[in-house]
Amino acid sequence: MDSLNALVVIANFVVVPGLAYGSQLALGALGVTMVYSVLRFSNFAHGELMSFGAMVTVLLTWWLQAQNIGLSVLPTALIALPIAMVVTVLLALATDKLVFSYYRQKRSESVTYLIVSVGVMFTIGGLIRFIIGPADRVFTDGQRFLLKARAFKKMTGLNEGLAIKTTQGVTIIVAVIVVALIFWFLNKTKTGKSMRAYSDNEDLALLSGINPERVVMITWIITGALAALAGTLYGLDKSYKPFTYLSLLLPIFASAIVGGVGNPVGAIIGGYVIAFSELFITFAYKKVATYMLPAAWAPEGLVQLLSTDYKIAVSFVILLVVLLIRPTGLFAGKTI
């Protein structure tokens, strides 16, 4: 009984939130990895692109709520999301047209692109603060829980409850569907294969008649859509606050690099690796220890390896260790 209770505590505070947060990171890292493998640079603007997508969702959700349009138990944001994805894709295409295409024509070094993407990051960040301001916005509605802690306790008779928020369920399901779609696209369609070919060998892709401008355009379309999706899911799960997306950049890049940057499978696994590491390391094991150890050994402190304030350090350390020991990541990177 005690060990079951301990398991439920871990499931409630680590596994469920980890799956949701991991899915959000995975979708973010997938966008970063796509840009890296096709356009060959680290896009620091990706966090703000996510934030922009979430902002459009927030604004549309408010409007929909004012019109009394909703999805009853599900968040209204799900109706707004597809439109936000389209708008974010347009922004991604516009930044490419206005900024990145110039450096592509000049065949700039990837370091130049990286600095340019920092500029784009600040510009989009400014635009967001100009439109919606820096404040914290909650835009979740509908039913709050798929599974309530109390209901779980009643069902199982355990002391500990397991709660699953609707937003967590939505995040995981949407992530699974989208990832499946992306892999189907990359591996089964002619256009997807041509993108992988272009990422593999740009010159030979040209010789095969693959149009690079089209490949670049499709990459931005996928990246923009993924960014809006990841940003919205993150905002739904927590809340929408522009500043947090800047700090999401580190775990997202850590996910992409841990998995092997440029490798989509790696990006997804990297997302979960980072999410679970953060949660396991900042989790307070006091309750678990109390259940598992004899009463006399019950700990007094929180039994926490690291305070949650330092969770960003976890991604940072993992990133450093991977770069030192296995710079190509868990899966060989640089291809899609």
Binding site: D200, D203, L204, A205, L206, L207
Partner: protein, 234 residues
């Protein structure tokens, strides 16, 4: 007048010219071989014919049409296939996907061409689902040639297709190339193994420092004493 010809091509990668009034060409169903010492500009001449290099003067003609201004992709659509000297496969794509990418510009059903390529290179069928980067050098060259054949080109340009393969595989590749030419395709290729290549060549071009030094039939070049001494090792 050849079916495909780069005429009096002058140009290079930057300010300095690599090619000087260089001419190479080939006719349908024939094999033309370009030989010469390292750095002579053989690869550069091939790239120029394929439109990967700006020409300062000279022109490229195909089937009587001036194609000098066309981009490489447009030449692919016109019926040119090119196998570069290096990086000529997509390493992380499977063999089959490599061949499919060869057929990228085709909107019709290319399964016939695919089975022809598999017939020509049976090993590719065996390794169809393996990433091309995991193949041996000789097998990779077969993928590269196979990829170029997938567009059903009228002209096939090969830059050192036998580089880094064993003599046995080389003979086999040459046999395959002869088969390809017999189907009516014009084959223009650069070869390091000058002697063997000139044996199967209808035409030969000897380039030195970006200039045509000797141009004749393969047989005549093999018989020419000067050519033998300077380029064929006696």
């Amino acid at each position: 007048m050849h079916y495909l010809v780069g005429e009096a091509m002058t140009g290079g990668y930057g300010d300095a010219d690599i090619l000087h009034e260089c001419t190479i060409g080939v006719d349908e169903g024939e094999i033309a071989v370009v030989v010469g010492p390292n750095g002579a500009g053989k690869s550069t001449a091939m790239k120029a014919v394929f439109g990967m290099l700006g020409l300062r003067s000279g022109r490229v003609m195909m089937d009587g049409e001036d194609i000098t201004a066309l981009k490489p992709q447009e030449r692919v659509r016109k019926g040119m296939g090119f196998v570069p000297q290096t990086n000529n496969v997509f390493p992380s794509l499977t063999v089959l996907e490599n061949l499919e990418m060869g057929a990228f510009v085709r909107a019709d059903d290319f399964s016939n061409t695919l089975s022809q390529v598999f017939e020509l290179f049976p090993v590719l069928k065996e390794k169809a689902v393996q990433p091309a980067g995991e193949l041996s050098g000789g097998q990779r060259q077969q993928v590269a040639v196979g990829r170029a054949l997938m567009t059903q080109p009228k002209v096939l340009m090969l830059d050192e297709p036998t580089a880094g393969v064993s003599p046995i595989v080389m003979d086999e590749l040459f046999d395959r190339i002869i088969e390809v030419a017999r189907t009516g395709i014009a084959v223009l290729m650069v070869e390091q193994n000058a002697k063997q290549a000139l044996h199967i060549a209808d035409k030969g071009f000897v380039l030195v420092q970006g200039r045509n030094k000797y141009t004749d039939t393969g047989k005549a070049l093999l018989a020419d004493n000067d050519v033998r001494k300077a380029f064929l090792g006696g």
